[in-house]
């Protein structure tokens, strides 16, 4: 029988998690770091407006995760439908691009600008990559100074790609933290009967890199084995230990190749 019973470990954890705001504890330092990096990189790019958009679901939609500049607060959490605007293109094509005259014609920017009251004129957008996967888009908007703004230069485009690498690592860490928090909430929610298969199914529908899902899946499997009893737990830990010993030996000798 599992220890997921009232007044058991599960209940204690739940109370703890409710007391401490785990969501912000896990993700807030990361969003702050992303924000800080945006400020530093934007000043290097000669711009005061920048934003980070991340994948929202599996259909190619985007969501503003962080932003700096005049309309930052309005932008955060705003959604961008799949394939819309420069950001949507950069997400799906993996190619960075810069536009020097977004203009006032009917476009995605017109829609966003209408909501925020801002005027987008020049834009540089570059993909955020982690482990070969495009996980979001980094955008710099307008150059500092008075309009009409100068276009972003090819050198700035290359520099943006370097900033994008650093920001992508943070975004990935943020996504992991969020995933971890969501998993915790799901497992520890009061009326959860802890139906492991249901948790697994939920995990499989989660967006995020395959790597996350696999690790989480492994954790769930271990949890399930542990719930079967002491003998099973002991067997599992012996199996895993011998696997680790084998892998270490393999790494040392370089002899045992697949």
């Amino acid at each position: 029988m599992s220890d997921f019973e009232p007044n058991g470990l599960n209940e204690k954890l739940r109370v703890l998690i409710e007391t401490v705001d785990v969501a912000s504890m896990l993700t807030e330092p990361l969003t702050r770091s992303i924000q800080d990096l945006l400020v530093v990189s934007a000043s290097q790019m000669g711009s005061a407006e920048a934003s980070v958009l991340v994948r929202d679901g599996d259909e190619g939609d985007l969501l503003f995760l962080a932003a700096i500049g005049k309309v930052a607060e309005q932008l955060v959490n705003m959604k961008v439908p799949a394939g819309k605007g420069i950001a949507g293109f950069v997400l799906s094509s993996g190619q960075p691009m810069a536009v020097s005259d977004v203009g006032e014609e009917e476009s995605f920017y017109a829609d966003v600008d209408k909501k925020t009251g801002y005027s987008t004129q020049t834009i540089l957008a570059t993909p955020l990559r982690h482990n070969g996967e495009v996980i979001g888009v980094l955008e710099y908007i307008n150059r500092t100074g008075e309009p009409p703004f100068a276009a972003f230069t090819p050198e700035q485009m290359d520099r943006a790609a370097l900033f994008a690498d650093a920001i992508a690592s943070l975004v990935n860490a943020y996504e992991s933290a969020k995933l971890f928090h969501e998993l915790g909430e799901k497992v520890l929610s009061v009326d959860a009967d802890l139906d492991i298969s249901e948790v697994r199914e939920w995990l499989s529908t989660l967006r995020g890199s395959a790597e996350h899902r696999k690790t989480m899946d492994l954790a769930i499997m271990l949890r399930e084995i542990a719930s079967r009893g002491e003998t099973e737990t002991e067997l599992c830990s012996q199996l895993l230990e011998s696997l680790l010993t084998y892998l270490d030996a393999k790494a040392e000798t370089g002899f045992l190749k697949y």
Binding site: S92, S93, E105, P154, M157
Partner: protein, 267 residues
């Protein structure tokens, strides 16, 4: 007259090739050459492009497979229209074929454009413009296979290089395709090359004025816009020299790029 020397290595066949191409391509228009644009679609109603796009198809997921249907969706992102306008300025009489693989939801990154490339190779389009790429390692092998098939079918594939600190596919494959990076050159016909590097040709890609869906124009920067310049040049070459193999096209482009660089240097 441009003298071209190259060393062709296709695995089963290795040989040196020597040939000459006359200058007639300089005034060619790409007449009779088909150019596929694998991208976000093309706005066929744009004044710069009316009558130039011969077919338009778009990717759709059908029972986990990607199939192509005739498309009237145009271009929601603008990128494909921009690339098409660059090609058609250099090769105004080339036949454009739009293969829309971006923009629609639910299409996996890389997977749809792989299917688009396969579609283009099956249809044996003379030039295939790929202003996009993927860094996912799992696409390495299938892309390699497709590029080999393109080579054997005589399709010349031109891809935008990635200016990010990651290798991107297909632009790192050097043997069976032509990879392009942006330069600040303003003459649309002037391209250059980086000898001995993976990224090979350079073409104008900074602040390029392009068509944009809805009839307007944009000034765009990116390797994506350098790539179609070279696609247009290849259409011109193939109009005058339809017998050239993809390898010979590549060798000819190097020879011309060298001439371009010599003339800019005042040699």
């Amino acid at each position: 007259m441009t003298a071209v020397t190259g060393y062709e290595d296709t695995g089963s066949l290795s040989r040196a090739t020597f040939f000459q191409i006359d200058d007639s391509w300089r005034s060619a228009t790409g007449l009779g050459v088909s150019v596929a644009v694998i991208d976000s679609g093309i706005d066929t109603a744009h004044p710069e492009l009316t009558g130039k796009v011969k077919t338009s198809v778009e990717a759709r997921v059908d029972n986990k497979r990607i199939v192509f249907d005739p498309s009237e969706a145009g271009d929601s992102a603008g990128h494909g229209t921009a690339c098409a306008s660059i090609i058609s300025r250099i090769a105004p009489e080339a036949e454009l074929h739009s293969i829309k693989v971006l923009g629609a939801g639910g299409l996996g990154d890389g997977q749809a454009f792989l299917a688009g490339l396969e579609y283009a190779v099956k249809n044996e389009f003379g030039v295939i413009n790929l202003s996009l790429g993927t860094t996912k390692p799992q696409f390495f092998a299938p892309l390699h296979d497709l590029l080999d098939r393109a080579y054997l079918a005589g399709c010349v594939v031109v891809a935008a290089a990635n200016n990010l600190p990651h290798p991107s596919f297909p632009s790192v494959f050097s043997s069976s395709l032509i990879s392009v990076i942006k330069s600040e050159e303003t003459d649309p016909l002037k391209f250059g090359f980086h000898f001995g590097e993976i990224i090979e040709l350079t073409a104008p890609g900074v602040n390029v004025r392009t068509a944009w869906p809805g009839g307007g124009h944009r000034n765009l920067t990116g390797n994506s816009f350098a790539c179609p310049h070279v696609a247009g040049m290849i259409a011109r070459l193939l109009e005058k020299h339809p017998e050239l193999t993809p390898f010979q096209v590549k060798s000819a482009l190097y020879a011309i790029a060298q001439e371009n660089e010599a003339s800019s240097a005042g040699v």
